[in-house]
Symmetry: C2
DNA sequence: CAGTGGTCTAGACCACGCT
DNA sequence: GCGTGGTCTAGACCACTGT
């Protein structure tokens, strides 16, 4: 505005307790929560925000980074910053596995834990599968209690709720090759298999009696970010799963799900 | 390379497929994982990294932000960037609540789910407690199935593994005031209470038969970041817990834990 | 092509921790 | 006081998405 003093470079204008980029982030969050900016629509472009808040581009981008990390928005390169429309769905662990057990017992059909989570009809989802027999590495050998280097059948999956929609989940799972090699379970043509891994193992006469899940949260790796179409600052759940037949682990899996799209539900009973 | 054209300002030097700040982050990660930079020690200061990688400060800071979001390092303002020493602990949901049930039944003593998680002796932890009777808001009323505005006893907790160490967990929990107001359970002087909420409710003749947990992951809010001493880019688990006596919810809680320090373990039994 | 976000530079002032 | 990270500016070039 008025120029009275000589300054070499841009000064920091009145240091406030909460930094400028946080204030901007809070204001934008408020507008989204108040419905002033519609869910699913685009945020004003960076130049507009720079003008409105009288801030440099870096500051505006820092503010957007905050919202991105909260999962409130995500950015698409040449397009803009999109306010997320989706509300999180609950991945209820016991319900989903119980559904698979029901299929294995012939009490239900045409579902898999993924369709249960997303409340999807059977024909409205798509699964990409790759199956390969490989040597187990330290991690999988540990999860399945195998000797190092023993062979496993690895299955890589990408799930999409709609045939051409974005991927919502990716996973790798392993079963001992000694158990499944050469069986219909190892044939990718049989996917998606109703009732998932539990039903697959049941078809081989193996009854899964317990499932353990370990949950971590972290930033996505680059291949995960690419497959799941995640922008910088996104967070993923990584679920390490083991299925047991008695005390013997018979399947292991690592499941990656964007954390802003789901909530993980678990129950613990006294019994 | 060869300079033929006049440029006003710093050019972007040789655009590579993976951005510069990611390359730097990868290189630093490698050094940490190879032990070249020791766990618990400080990363070289920004100016040193700028010199070594011939990059501007912003670029170096972007690289460090990547490591921070991965939970590999955390920054302390006037001190430096610290490489995290801790390995994640597992918060095994059924074990921890089973331990509390054992206390409630008089089968064990001097423990609480937090000390179980951290494998701590009883006298080596500290708990900060505030207890207050308030009106329930929409969220707590929903979790406890109360009429809107019905009163609840709110308990705010901060856990520290060592008396003066950093906080590792913070939570708020609510019980219906009609159940606990005026009882020893509502007296903060009785904290820490062996066996936690389950034992507290048991002392009132209420038997918890089921615990449900819903897990989300997100960036910490500012008060959480302050209490847990989190740097920017950190991720927290938010566990929403309900304890049930039969079909009646008797306690609700929201537990916030930094995601880089724990792994959440759950088991699902075929039953 | 214009407009969007992605990356980078160079320099400045500020707040914090230590000695 | 000095060195550390935290915030901010101003400007540049690049890559992607739309028309």
């Amino acid at each position: 505005m008025s120029a009275t003093e000589p300054r070499k470079v841009a000064p920091v204008p009145a240091q406030t307790p909460t930094p400028r980029f946080r204030q901007i982030a809070d204001e934008l969050r408020k507008r989204i929560e108040d419905g002033e900016i519609e869910r699913g629509s685009l945020l004003p472009p960076e130049p507009a925000l720079m003008a409105e808040f009288e801030a440099a581009r870096g500051t505006v981008r820092d503010a957007i980074a905050v919202l991105r990390q909260d999962g409130l928005v995500h950015t698409e390169h040449g397009r803009g910053t999109v306010v997320r429309p989706e509300l999180p769905i609950t991945r209820q662990a016991d319900d989903r596995y119980r559904a698979d057990w029901a299929v294995a017992d012939g009490l239900a059909a045409q579902q898999t834990s993924f369709t249960v989570d997303h409340n999807l009809p059977w024909d409205r989802h798509r699964l990409e599968v790759e199956v390969e027999e490989v040597e187990s590495d330290d991690v999988t050998a540990g999860l399945l209690v195998l000797a190092a280097g023993e062979r496993v059948v690895e299955r890589r999956l990408v799930f999409r709720p709609k045939p051409r929609g974005r991927a919502e989940q990716m996973s790798r799972s392993w079963m001992p090759a000694s158990l499944v090699a050469g069986t219909p379970v190892a044939d990718p043509a049989n996917e998606p298999w109703e009732g998932g891994s539990i039903a697959q193992l049941a078809s081989l006469g193996v009854e899964v009696t317990e499932v353990r899940e370990h949950v971590r949260a972290r930033a996505p790796k680059s291949d995960e970010a690419a497959t799941l179409v995640l922008s910088a600052g996104a967070i993923v759940f990584v679920i390490t799963r083991q299925m047991f037949a008695g005390s013997q682990p018979v399947e292991a899996a690592e499941i990656v799900i964007p954390a802003d799209r789901v909530e993980l539900g678990y129950r613990i009973f006294r019994s």
